[in-house]
Amino acid sequence: MSPSLVAAGVFSHKKYGENYHALALVAPGIGAQVEPGQFINVSCGPNRDFILRRPFSIFRVHEQGSAPSTIEIVFDLRGPGTRQLAAMHIHDKIDVMGPLGVGFSIPQRKAKCLLVGGGVGAAPLFFLGDRLRKDGHRIDVVLGARNADHLLNAMDLRRMASVCNLTTEDGSAGARGRVTDVLADTMDGCGTEVVYACGPDPMLAAVARICMEKKVFVQVAVEELMACGYGVCMTCVMPLRERRSKGASAGRSVVYARTCTEGPVFNGAQVIWSSGHEHVAQDQSELSLGGGAVRAGLQPEAGAGHGPPGN
């Protein structure tokens, strides 16, 4: 379905742990249509000092009987936009654009699915998990964060998962380390057939590499900086390998796909991950889904043309 602009109402505002705010929004038209992995782009108010919308993947959708479904987003405080959203109260109105992007594809037959998430970037796995479980798929989970406080709502994932492995970088919950440290063993133990991963690019790159070695299909929801969210600004592009089977151009080529419209979910085997990953400053990262890290240092392909500094 095509996106629309909706004046959404705040239905609830709660916190998960110390760090994460969750806003449930009544957004008629979006709640009924949105698919796991899609996102919304939220105006933080009629500001002139910071003007861009902030993108958020859908954390959960709550069906309210015959009333419109509410959509829930979750975020931590990263800058002026999220600070403004964190001050929202029930019944406040928020200008929301959505649903945006292409979500996860759901297995056609019963499959053993592994959900892999890092930090607040794990948000879309909850909505995805609900959908997969409804469709009768087995779900296993690997959830990681820098410490126990930053594990996003692990309790709910534990409830839906057959196996739920947690990792923290400081060892305050689950295994000490990163999700990729336990990924291969979890996949082997669970007989994983499909992997769904959300989080910062370096994590996704490592997850994709492990899955490709194991020849397991992996879908990744990437976090890229975006200005518009609906396909016109060309800031959120990801380099993808594209196989062309026909004609004179048969072989491999690189295409720059828009995260906001062709993504944010991509086939992890198609993404060309850059070698150097930089964390962006906190006040900028709220312009990406999940806001973990951004790509950097990728060189344009040969013959790319030399554009101006602007545009």
């Binding site: 910071f50 003007i51 016109v232 060309m234 690189v254 962006v280 790319a304 554009g307 500094p309 602007g310």
Partner: protein
């Protein structure tokens, strides 16, 4: 009395004076999910080049106070794709379309202009994005040189005879009127003022530029006073030259500032990222202003700035 918002700039007829600025609206397809493209005065499409360009590395943008920096590198699918796919679709929507041409040499500009002329389409006008580096002159940006600006304009005008040509000037020069004069002498039918303002932002945690390309173009309300000044400077010297004012327009008041400074039409840029329906809203606000003030024709407002008394 119903205010008349229609304007004509050097033969470019617009139902209202508010266009979407190049690079902020694609070729209209995505925005069409949110609005009827006929409601816009016109669509200045994303710049097109002779061959497809894949653009610059990411990160390509960052937010700055009252604006944003971008370094996209004119990622586009080339003039042939525009003529075969985008233009027919836009025409089917009844949109008024302005093509934007970019290139890394005079010859590239000329070849694209030639393709457009040969295609003999319903295209309403052409804007020249000359804020590109000239690979044949040590990467100097065309718009930063009076002579390079003149050469592009003259060469394009020699092949593109059927459409009005607007030169989009850069604010990153010592004297905008000097470049404007050069563009006009070379045959530009009108001017677009302004392109983005060069800027840069640094991530102090990594000690790297926030954009992969280092520098970028600043847009958004932060640059509006620069645009108003540029339009004023040029209009004062050449009051009959049609100007498309652009730079940080979000509201009708913003647009009216540019119009009163001398712009016959305005283009809305970065605001489209926030609200795809920004252009018709700005046009509606201009209509309200005219109705409230008893202004019958928007042309009465162009350059109406009072400088004395």
């Amino acid at each position: 009395m119903t205010p008349d918002l229609a304007v004509t700039l050097a033969g470019l007829r617009l139902a209202n004076p508010v266009l979407a600025a190049s690079g902020t609206f694609g070729a209209g397809r995505e925005a069409a999910a949110f609005l009827d493209l006929k409601a816009l005065g016109g669509v200045i499409v994303k710049s097109m080049t002779l061959t497809p360009w894949s653009g610059k590395p990411t990160p390509r943008m960052c937010e700055t106070p009252s604006g944003m920096l971008n370094a996209i590198g004119i990622q586009n699918k080339g003039v042939e794709h525009f003529l075969a796919e985008d233009l027919p679709w836009l025409s089917a929507q009844d949109a008024t379309v302005v093509a934007s041409i970019a290139g890394n040499s005079v010859d590239e500009f000329v070849k694209v202009a030639h393709r457009i002329e040969a295609a003999n389409t319903s295209l309403a006008a052409v804007e020249l994005n000359i804020s590109c580096p000239n690979l044949e002159d040590r990467n100097h940006i065309f718009a930063h040189s009076a002579s390079a600006t003149a050469e592009v304009v003259r060469s394009v005008k020699a092949v593109l005879r059927s459409k009005p040509v607007f030169a989009k000037l850069s604010p990153n020069v010592t004297s905008i009127p000097l470049i404007a004069e050069s563009a006009l002498e070379a045959g530009a039918d009108g001017l677009s003022l302004i392109n983005t303002v060069f800027g840069m932002a640094v991530d102090v945690s990594t000690r790297r530029p926030k954009l992969a390309g280092g520098m970028g173009g600043l847009s958004g309300p932060a640059i509006r006073p620069i645009a108003v000044r540029a339009v004023h400077e040029v209009h004062r010297l050449w009051p009959h030259v049609p100007i498309i004012g652009q730079g940080g327009v979000q509201t009708a008041t913003d647009a009216l500032e540019l119009i009163m400074a001398g712009a016959s039409a305005v283009a809305v840029g970065t605001a489209n990222f926030v609200d795809p329906g920004a252009c018709p809203k700005v046009a509606g606000g201009i209509r309200d202003y005219m109705a409230a003030g008893g202004v019958g024709d928007v042309a009465e407002l162009v350059g109406c700035l009072k400088l004395e008394g």
